[in-house]
């Protein structure tokens, strides 16, 4: 598709270089904060107070050494991992079979159910957070990782469900019919035939559940205690030492974003598919 490229008064060469300039400007805007975070995390504290500001300086590991020595970074990381992995598992466990049933059975009220499940995405997070806190307190699990897993799963199970029902629909029915004629029950057909054929959808759903929980701040802030705090909560506390420059904060930021940036780039195809709400197969 090169819809915009044909015709017009500008010559091809001029248009080409304009395009290049535009893309370079775009890349600068996109990458500048990322680059700043990266270089600041390995910069000596004193550089933060220089005017004009410096982006590059002699690299040092002292910020990382400091945060790992002075702050419970490993505990925050562990909590982030527990919450993200827990959300991922729980979302798959309840979302995937539901997506399968949805793609294979016709029943009354199907569209209404789908509408209801998808609307979870529309409910402002602030609406649910206060009652959820009170309910978690009633269960006696306020302040634990489990409380955050439970609420993150509300938002992710719906997405998993939608994504997987689409994936299952694209599996040709003849394959499953053959299995069925061979004597598989519908449930066996599900885990012997449909699941192995749905890897892309499963990876996308797992990836998104993980990233969602990893990046969450509001739920974690409202439901965790210091012992179950996640990386974003920990990072917020490093901004408190602003007077000492931002280098510690930047090091914390790197610890917080590197796992998800790497995951999304490694699994780029799946990540893009999820971003477009299953639109790109």
């Amino acid at each position: 598709m090169t819809g915009i490229a044909s015709g017009g008064p500008l010559s091809r060469a001029v248009r080409g270089s304009l395009r290049t300039v535009a893309i370079v400007i775009l890349m600068c805007f996109v990458l500048f904060p990322v680059l700043w975070l990266l270089t600041t995390s390995i910069s000596a504290r004193i550089n933060m107070f220089k005017i004009p500001p410096v982006l590059f300086s002699r690299p040092t590991a002292e910020n990382f050494a400091y945060i790992f020595r002075q702050m419970p970074v490993l505990m925050w990381t562990r909590n982030s991992l527990i919450i993200s992995a827990g959300t991922m598992l729980l979302s798959l466990v309840i979302g995937v079979p539901a997506g399968y049933a949805f793609s294979r059975v016709r029943f009354a009220g199907k569209r209404a159910l789908l509408m209801g499940i998808l609307l979870t995405r529309a409910v402002p997070t602030i609406v649910i957070i206060m009652p959820f806190r009170i309910i978690m307190k009633g269960f006696g699990i306020l302040g634990t990782q489990l409380a955050v897993i439970l609420i993150d799963t509300v938002y992710n199970a719906a997405f998993t469900f939608w994504l997987l029902s689409g994936t299952f629909e694209s599996i040709p029915l003849d394959i499953e019919e053959a299995a069925w004629i061979d004597g598989c029950t519908p449930v066996q057909t599900f885990y012997r035939i449909a699941i192995p054929l749905s890897k892309p959808g499963l990876v996308t759903a797992a990836l998104f559940a993980f990233i969602f929980s990893w990046n969450d701040f509001l739920f974690a802030m409202s439901l965790t205690s210091p012992n179950s705090a996640t990386l974003p909560i920990g990072m917020l506390s490093t901004y408190g030492i602003l007077q000492q420059g931002w280098t510690y904060m930047a090091a914390m930021g790197i610890v917080a974003i590197v796992p998800v940036v790497i995951l999304s780039l490694l699994l780029q195809k799946y990540y893009v598919s999820g971003l477009t709400f299953g639109g790109v197969k």
Binding site: T2, W36, P124, V154, S264
Partner: protein, 298 residues
């Protein structure tokens, strides 16, 4: 639609309906119940730790006179409208720029994914440092090119909201680009060949062919962004905390203050229910457009 094989019709298949039970129960307990509680407690005067007193619609009557809340709703509307519109226009321009196959373009398409996966709180703190009134790099260079930004973008009431919207635009324009690129890929080529034969200008081709054909995708992108922008909290919390004054206090921040800090649970619930209605209206539109998009693909 192709005729459905008998498989689906078999009664035995109904056993699969059990698969819907866990998710339904889960959402009932952890989603519908909290929401129902929210709607219920919105009719009470209830401060955490105190007695809940039924007051009917009094909370809703007072929110109509609550200038701080109404102000935060207006701030939300400005934030959502402006950020989403800029993201849509910018997203469209960038998608058209990137819509060609080459190695460089693939790299660019990969790189622009990074802001979308950035932990929003981290993004907020990074930009907060960049905007720092004395030491921030953005502040320095804006002044260096002669821009009068007063005491700093995030410090002046007139520019604080703009500064947090810029972060939204940084983080989420790439999402719009990716969604639109996937839409552009699916467009038929014939209309363009016809337009080229007619000698139509690039602009005319865009407005008369590309935009109408891409409309469903644009609508999905706009609605996803609107829904998520309505939820904005982390970045503003990190950058300005709602200030200076209340200039960046969107409704989510105000509700958080009332509920979690002042512990006025009943009143906060009524405030959040107004937002809930807004979310559901946009959400229904979103789901419907998602259905249409899916049916168009089938």
């Amino acid at each position: 639609m192709a005729s459905k094989p008998i498989y689906i019709m078999k009664r035995k298949n109904r056993s699969l309906l059990w698969f819907l039970v866990p998710i339904s129960l889960y959402l009932l307990i952890f989603f519908l119940y909290p929401m129902a509680y929210d709607i219920y407690i919105g009719f009470f005067d209830y401060k955490l730790g105190g007695q809940a007193l039924y007051v009917g619609i009094k909370n809703y009557a007072s929110l109509l006179k609550d200038s701080q809340y109404l102000g935060s709703l207006i701030t939300t509307l400005i934030y959502v409208t402006f950020a989403v519109l800029v993201e849509a226009v910018l997203g469209m321009v960038i998608a058209l720029l990137l819509d060609r196959e080459s190695r460089a373009m693939n790299l660019v398409r990969t790189v622009i994914l990074v802001p979308t996966v950035f932990t929003p709180l981290v993004a907020g703190l990074v930009w907060k440092a960049l905007y720092h009134p004395d030491l921030g790099m953005v502040t320095y260079y804006l002044r260096a090119i002669g821009l009068n930004i007063g005491r700093g973008l995030t410090v002046e009431r007139s520019s604080a909201l703009l500064s947090v919207m810029i972060v939204d635009i940084w983080e989420w324009t790439p999402l719009v680009v990716i969604v639109l690129l996937s839409g552009l890929k699916g467009l038929p080529t014939e209309p363009y060949e016809a337009a080229a034969l007619d000698g139509a200008s690039a602009l005319r081709t865009f407005f008369q062919i590309t935009l109408p054909l891409l409309r469903p995708t644009v609508v999905v992108a706009l609605l996803i962004r609107t829904l998520d922008a309505l939820k904005v909290f982390d970045t503003i919390w990190a950058i300005t905390g709602g200030g200076p004054g209340t200039s960046t206090t969107v409704a989510n921040l105000r509700i958080y203050e009332v509920g979690m800090q002042n512990l006025k649970i009943g009143y906060a619930a009524s405030l959040s229910n107004v937002l809930l209605i807004l979310g559901i209206v946009v959400g229904v539109l979103f789901v419907q457009s998602l259905f249409r998009e899916k049916e168009a693909q089938a």
